[in-house]
Amino acid sequence: MADVPSLRFRRVVTAAVSLAITALLAFALGDPGAHMAQNLVIPGIGLLEVSGALAVVVLVATTAAIVVWVTWGIDWLPAAIVLCSTVAAGLLTGDHAAPVTRAADELIGVAAAHEFPLVVLVVGGIMWMRTAVGRLPGLRRLAARRSRTVAIAPGLDGIGALAPLDRSRAAAIAALTGPVPSTVNDAAASDAVVTRARRIGLFARGRRGDPFAVDHAAARAALALTGQLDDAAMARFAGDAHAAIAGVPASEPTWVRPLDATLAAIALHRAGHGDASRRWAAMLAGPLALQRGHRPGAWWTPLGIRLGAAPVWEHAATSALARANGWCDDADWHVLRPRLLGAAARGTSVAADERAIAAARLWLVHVDDEQAARILARPTVHRDPIAVALDRLADALAANARADATTPDPTDVHRHTVERGDLVP
């Protein structure tokens, strides 16, 4: 097993520094410092005395910036808002100008080191609340309805209708089965995918030039698996993986998303870079391991913090792909099984359910579960491109597995109509 990065020391130090700075602000700088400390905990609250509207604006802006950060990795944006609003809280409240100025100087000195854990805490809380609220019966329906439109896409032909990230994921998964149609190739290299990568590189890190030089695990995996990465690009892909803390490139700057990372690891493994897959397997067994039945939705590389729980379909697809490559055992199946059967019961009208069903079929190649096989055979996966790609991969792997099998298929209905076993004559 490859070494897994231990970021505990870094987390402890960061937490200690953060607490120390917050305490310093709160206790050493009088009223302005207290406001600054408050503002670090909940951005905007430090400005309440100055202006309620300003406080709300800051809070809303921070929330939006956090969404942008979590989605595209633009981490400086929430950091800047928190920093500026905290400095403003110190400057605009109270009458201790000198200490405040000193405090501001200190803050600028430590840059974004300490507010991030607090923000991550907030993000984690938001994600947890979203997950919890999403489990409530009425709201679950609403959440499901939101993603229903995606399920209209007619199989892989509709891959172009997906968002760029999902387009890359669908293409990468489809390519795992073998040669793919031109629509899939085109989707993997489409302008939308390139533009997304370019914009993220530019806005998150000020990068110009090759948009796929760093990060973008899913897009680069799709390009690699569909044979659209030249040797130089492939070498950069491998190099990026080698340098990355998780053994594979991130999806967006500082964010490792398990599905994208798994696809990237498979692509690198197929290209002969076995080190990436070994390190990624160690990640799956270590920092991204199952905890209380879930794997994280994302992993923040600077401090190695798990963010939220992966959606069921992502968890299932990631773990099934990992299982197919021998990177994990069957533990995921046991925790996922009821959720996946529930998806099968709900049917394919929601894209997330359709993907979950297809991912479950991928799992069935590796586990002997007759009841689940019967249940999962019922829904027809034919709408969402990612689901269709997963389903085809499951079919292909199952066909290979059947070629070696000697026991009869329990779902073979013809056997029953032919044998006509125990009926009374």
Binding site: R337, P338, R339, L340, L341, G342, A344, A345, R346, G347, T348, E370, Q371, R374, I375, R378, P379, T380, P410, V413, H416, T417, E419, R420, G421, D422, L423, V424, P425
Partner: protein
């Protein structure tokens, strides 16, 4: 004589039916107990009300009057609008009691009216001084309460006496009358039969999780309930399998199988969780473990008929019928455990009959549940039905039988009350279940049929005189379907066809089939319907149309009998539709093949089996030899045939050929 007819079960129909009890009881022992309990509760409520009215102040009097008559206290407290609203709420609660098993609705409104009228006793009034009371309302409330109870008692007693007065005349009729033998022709399917079959195949052979062409709406009671559409289609295709294509089971087996599998789709059975929660205060979604005989009994019967018609034991496999709730909980059943669940429900019910919707036990559904147990016994040699039969007959004859030979449609298992729900004329019927008691109680079937058909032979004979050269120049009036989506004449034609067959008017029935087709045909194909009628009623029409010579009661009694003679095993679908595959002598095979929904110009492979090993066969279209081939050592052969139009073929062994 055909092979199908030869396989009819040997069940001797009694020469004479049992007569009606001359001194019928007003209600059976269990029903009496339930009604007495209800009466006792009402008496306690009334006594409490009187105590409050006599001994209390204004508030207590208002509450007491509301206990005497829901909302009565509002009249006393000069709030007539609240009184009217209480009765609106009572009406809504009544509908919900019936429709959604809200048993606590009426008591809740009743008690709430008592509480609210007491609270309002000293409150403001609309246009009247605060605290005003109308003393005159007190006698009015009690008069209204007495009138309500009196009218209920009078209605019940008058109906009972009216029916009891007919007993002597009815028994005389039962003891002396004879009914003509029903017509059971072996039909050759016409173009509409083929259209209907093709529609049914396309509907059922779409992926199991897809429901194009079904009618969706509320899933509790109405005419858009999908589980019933699936039941009726299964019931319709089973007799087609045994009467028309016993020697080509492949296509119809898949159709029948898919109909059963669709029953396990969450969208079909999700309604039960809601009903169970409301009616039983039980959050368990398992659709078989408690009540719900309209699902367990109906579909159990459907599974039996599937096995009896096709010989498939697919659903005998453990877990082959697994329900999955939306959170992933599974409720695994198979044919056997399914029937055991039905049996357990019968066993634990004080009334023997157990509820469909919580608290409502229907005679029809419990008869279909009985059919289901009987069918399982026939197929698997169990004794579920024979163990239950005495109790079941007692419940039917003592609890549900009315003096004139009708059976009450519905009974509340909480109150013992029955009423006309509007589903059947008068809320009663002479026979029920999908087989009219023919399999579970042949003697009662005969009695019911005789009572039901009083005067019918004469009416049918009159109609038969209108048949000229096999044609009936008649159009029947359209009536609303139960789901009120459309008006249709198909239902009336279905009843006419069934009635004509029951009184032996086979020619009239065939003429009615053609006339009905002329009036109702749409010319449309799946996902639309070939006849202008909804899915449920179309399926029932197909059931009647195809239930000859073998009907489902006979099939349920007979069980599985393998086809005799050559079998057309493999037929490419959707290229080819097999509408006839019968062997009348065990040697030859009559086939009618039609182009399927996706016809092929190229010849298609027909896979025969059960041929004489190494024998030579000819496939004839009239006198023309379409194909000539030699069966393999295992009795199979696969000639290629073009099916660009209707092909009526005859497979015969060549005498003196290779063998």
């Amino acid at each position: 004589m055909t092979v199908s007819e030869l396989h009819r079960p040997h069940v001797a129909e009694p020469a004479r039916p049992p007569l009606l009890p001359e001194r019928p009881r007003r209600m059976g022992p269990v029903t009496r107990l339930l009604v007495l309990r209800t009466v006792a509760i009402v008496l306690v409520v009334q006594a409490t009300g009187i105590a409050l009215v006599v001994g209390g102040g204004v508030r207590a009097r208002a509450a007491g009057l509301s206990l005497a008559l829901p909302g009565g206290g509002f009249l006393y407290t000069a709030a007539p609008i609240a009184f009217v609203l209480t009765w609106v709420a009572i009406s809504v609660a009544l509908v919900l009691w019936w429709g959604m098993s809200v048993h606590w609705g009426i008591p809740l409104v009743w008690l709430a009216s008592a509480g609210l009228s007491a609270m309002w006793a000293t409150g403001p009034r609309l246009g009247i001084d605060r605290g005003t009371t109308w003393v005159w309302a007190m006698p009015i409330v009690y008069v209204l309460a007495a009138a309500a109870i009196g009218s209920l008692v009078y209605t019940f007693e008058a109906r009972f006496r009216r029916k009891r007065a007919k007993i002597a005349e009815l028994n005389e009729y039962l003891a002396t009358a004879t009914l003509p033998e029903p017509a059971r022709p072996l039909r050759t399917p016409d173009d509409m039969d083929a259209e209907l079959l093709r529609w049914a195949y396309e509907l059922t052979m779409q992926p199991v999780d897809e429901f194009r062409g079904f009618e969706w709406g509320e899933q509790f009671h109405g005419g858009t309930v999908v589980r019933y559409q699936l039941n009726y289609l299964g019931w319709a295709l089973a007799p087609y399998a045994v009467n028309y294509v016993p020697n080509a089971p492949r296509q119809i087996e898949l159709a029948l199988r898919n109909l059963v599998l669709k029953q396990t789709d969450l969208r079909v059975w999700r309604y039960w969780r809601t009903l169970n929660l409301i009616g039983n205060l039980d959050a368990n979604p398992d659709p078989l473990v408690r009540d719900n005989i309209m699902f367990s009994g109906f579909t159990g019967d459907q599974i039996n008929l599937y096995e009896a018609a096709t010989g498939s034991t697919l659903f005998d496999e453990p877990g082959s019928l697994t329900f999955v709730w939306e959170d992933g909980r599974t409720f695994a059943y198979d044919h056997h455990s399914w029937m055991e669940a039905v049996q357990r429900n019968f066993d634990k019910s004080r009334l023997t009959f157990f509820p469909c919707e919580p608290g409502w036990a229907f005679a029809a559904c419990n008869t279909i549940g009985a059919q289901a147990l009987l069918g399982h016994d026939r197929l698997h040699g169990t004794t579920m039905w024979s163990d239950l039969e005495p109790r079941w007959r007692t419940a039917l004859e003592e609890e549900y039988l009315l003096p004139d030979g009708n059976y009450a449609n519905i009974r509340s298992t909480h109150t013992g009350l029955s009423w006309d729900t509007g589903e059947t004329p008068g809320g009663e019927y002479f026979t029920t279940g999908s087989h009219g008691f023919a399999d579970v109680a042949p003697d009662l079937a005969l009695r019911g049929r005789m009572l039901q058909l009083r005067g019918a032979p004469e009416k049918m004979a009159g109609l038969a005189t209108m048949v000229r050269d096999g044609e009936l120049t008649l159009e029947l009036p359209e009536e609303w379907e139960r789901n009120r989506v459309r008006r249709t004449a198909t239902n009336a034609w279905t009843k006419l066809i069934a009635g004509a067959r029951m009184v032996g008017q086979g020619e009239l029935a065939e003429a009615a089939i053609r006339a009905g087709d002329r009036q109702c045909a749409t010319g449309e194909v799946w996902p639309e319907r070939p006849l202008r009628v909804g899915v449920s009623n179309l399926a029932l029409h197909m059931l009647v149309r195809w239930s000859t010579p073998m009907d489902n009661a006979s099939l349920n009694l007979r069980g599985w009998v393998p086809p005799v003679g050559p079998v057309l095993d493999e037929v490419p679908w959707p290229e080819v539709l097999v509408t006839v595959a019968r062997s009348s002598d065990g040697e030859t095979l009559d086939l009618v093949l039609r182009p399927g929904p996706t016809p092929s110009d190229a010849p298609v492979r027909l896979g025969f089996m059960a041929l004489r090993p190494d024998a030579q066969y000819r496939l004839l279209d009239g006198a023309e030899v379409v194909a000539e081939f030699t069966a393999s050592a295992d009795g199979t052969a696969g000639p290629d045939i073009a099916v660009r139009e209707v092909r009526t073929l005859h497979l015969v062994p060549v005498e003196g050929g290779a063998s």
